[in-house]
């Protein structure tokens, strides 16, 4: 006969096993889809590059990482700063930040407008906001390309209006890429802000007016703090895909206005430098993580200061 303590122990181990079994699918998904690929990237980044793409497995080399920042001059073999890469880094960060800011400035009033409509009208607006998602990103981006091209409607209208006398070069500029990013990611900003505004108690706005706050003060002291979670979520949802954008800079930026996504693709494709591509990918990951930490720390810190 086993003692009560032994029985309890067996039951505990059985329970422990069952708990692990229940966790297994989630853990497997995380390992296969997230941790695994990251590990592969990390390993690839410290291998020598293969002659025809891929990596020379087993041949340890830090060339991938050094190539992120410096490159060997093909003529005199000296090391020079890889300023092309750094320019692309900077452009990516800059465009992603400006796109996030622009979507915030456009998205907040949009979301506020929708959230203050009557209920049935609200869902119609939300439908309109999500309609662009039904069309392929590439097609939408090509549509913008058509709009901005030298013979496109925008240039034609400007010429017709007499504002310019020959077509303005709009396509293949940073501005075009920015426009594309803002257009593509705007709904990702509007939706979370709308969600938090919809949950907001509009009595708070009246309470603000009642306590001598003017419209702008109510906006600043009450509405914006109340929908801060939405503003943060929207910014993250826009910034992350924007900094790694591939299609938009490829189509609207032409060959020369690359962003990190294009640079990485180049290493895995024509460049045949997989270790560099892997190292660049990890750099992108680090930039995004650091940006997120700074952003979330900054905004929650302010909130704490508010809360006293």
């Amino acid at each position: 006969m086993s003692s009560i303590a032994e029985m309890a122990a067996t039951r505990r181990t059985a329970e422990g096993r069952r708990r692990w079994l229940l966790k297994a699918p989630a853990l497997a998904t995380i390992v296969i889809a997230s941790v695994g690929p990251l590990a592969v990237m990390l390993v690839y980044s410290v291998m020598a590059k293969g002659a025809f793409g891929g990596v020379a497995l087993g041949h340890f080399s830090l060339d991938g990482w050094t190539n992120v920042f410096v490159e060997r001059d093909p003529f005199d073999d000296t090391l020079v700063l890889a300023d092309a890469n750094l320019i692309i880094f900077w452009r990516s960060i800059k465009l992603a930040l400006v796109a996030t800011l622009a979507t915030l400035l456009i998205g907040f009033p949009t979301a506020y407008y929708i959230a203050t409509r009557p209920e049935q009208v609200r869902s119609q607006w939300m439908l309109l906001i999500t309609i662009p998602f039904w069309t392929n990103l590439l097609i939408r981006t090509f549509a913008i390309m058509g709009l901005l091209s030298n013979q496109g409607p925008v240039n034609n209208i400007l010429i017709w209006a007499g504002l310019i006398d020959k077509p303005m070069q709009m396509l293949f500029t940073d501005g075009a890429v920015l426009l594309g990013l803002v257009y593509v990611y705007l709904p990702l900003m509007v939706l979370p802000i709308y969600a938090s505004l919809e949950r907001m108690d509009f009595n708070l706005v009246e309470a603000g007016y009642d306590l001598y706050a003017t419209r702008s003060k109510v906006l600043w002291h009450i509405v914006i703090p109340s929908c801060k979670p939405g503003l943060i979520a929207g910014s993250i949802l826009v910034f992350i895909p924007a900094i790694g954008a591939y299609v938009t800079p490829r189509v609207l930026g032409g060959g020369k206005n690359m962003m990190m996504g294009n640079l990485i693709e180049l290493q895995f494709g024509q460049g045949r430098n997989w270790p560099l591509g892997a190292a660049l990918s990890i750099c992108l990951l680090v930039i995004v993580t650091v940006a997120l930490i700074i952003y979330i720390r900054g905004s929650s810190g302010k909130e704490n200061a508010h809360g006293g």
């Binding site: 009595n203 009246e206 009642d210 306590l211 009450i222 703090p225 801060k228 508010h306 809360g307």
Partner: protein, 381 residues
Amino acid sequence: MLALSQPIQPQTADRRLAVQAIGLHKSYGTGASAFLALDDVSIDIAENEFFTLLGPSGCGKTTLLRLIAGFNFPTNGQILLRGKDIAALPPFRRPINTVFQNYALFPHMSVAENIGFGLKMLGWTKSRSVDRVAAMLKLVRMETLADRRTSEISGGQQQRVALARALAPQPEVLLLDEPLSALDYKLRKEMQVELKRLQTETGITFIFVTHDQEEALAMSDRIAVMNRGRVLQVGRPREIYNAPVDRFVADFIGESNILSGRLVGQAAADAHQVRIAGAVATAYGKAGTSGDGTVQVLIRPEHVDVLDSPSSDCIPAVVEDEVFVGTDTRLQLRLNDGSTFTARLTNSPEQEKIRTSGTQVWLRIHSHSARLLGGDHVQHR
């Protein structure tokens, strides 16, 4: 119009008026679907008065409060604050603050920051504002919770914070929109006393909205009874209870027996002989007949004696049910004209008497307690 026809109190007549509503109309929507939320409302509210707007939901009391606060604007009419027309001013330009039904405390601020918000918006200096917030916290007895988040305090405490926040900028008028409705019974009783104390201590005019007649009677200096966008009667709690102008007010305030009777003669200038269910009683008030000589007579359940033997001018009745409710016993009776009557008898241990269903009794109406309901107002029902 109705409000103006009421005699103005002698002790309020010489007091300065805080708020005056003159011929206020408010309608929502247009054309056939338009809804008239306020229909020609005129009210005078004196300074330092605890004034209550009382009525069922949808009677227009909250609409009136929102017009005074400035959240909505009247379709027609004037709102005067100490003689100045404020009907077109936005809420942040009116020295009037509101305690909201759900309190509407700012969730991202602490208790102290909530209370100081109005002061900050008014541009008070930090040190002055800190002192005022401390005084307010003391006033509502919340000193120890100044740094708490509003989500970390109880409903009753939130209520106090909402009060302190609205009182902090020293408004000329404080509006309270059913502030006690979310509290449980015991807390509500406590807050009634607390509110009355705050009003007396601060000397600020309170305009209080409620659908709870007991609350209104207990706290108010004067009450305006509203229904369907109109003010039916304005008066002190006793007046409203003892001399309601019409059937609606009589029904809404307290328990009431409204019987139809027939005028048989005049006893004095404001007293008439009325035949009710086989007996003749003296009823007071204006005799408004509805054409065929019948009148409505109000008798409160506590204003009758129940006798076990017949006596002159008593109304015969049959007991249908008896309910013991602690301090009182409630008797459901049927009169011989078929109408029902509720009598409320105060219990005392030495003279407890149980009357079973079917017992014949006689009702003696206390002198001066039968009230004629004015015919002028019958059409409101």
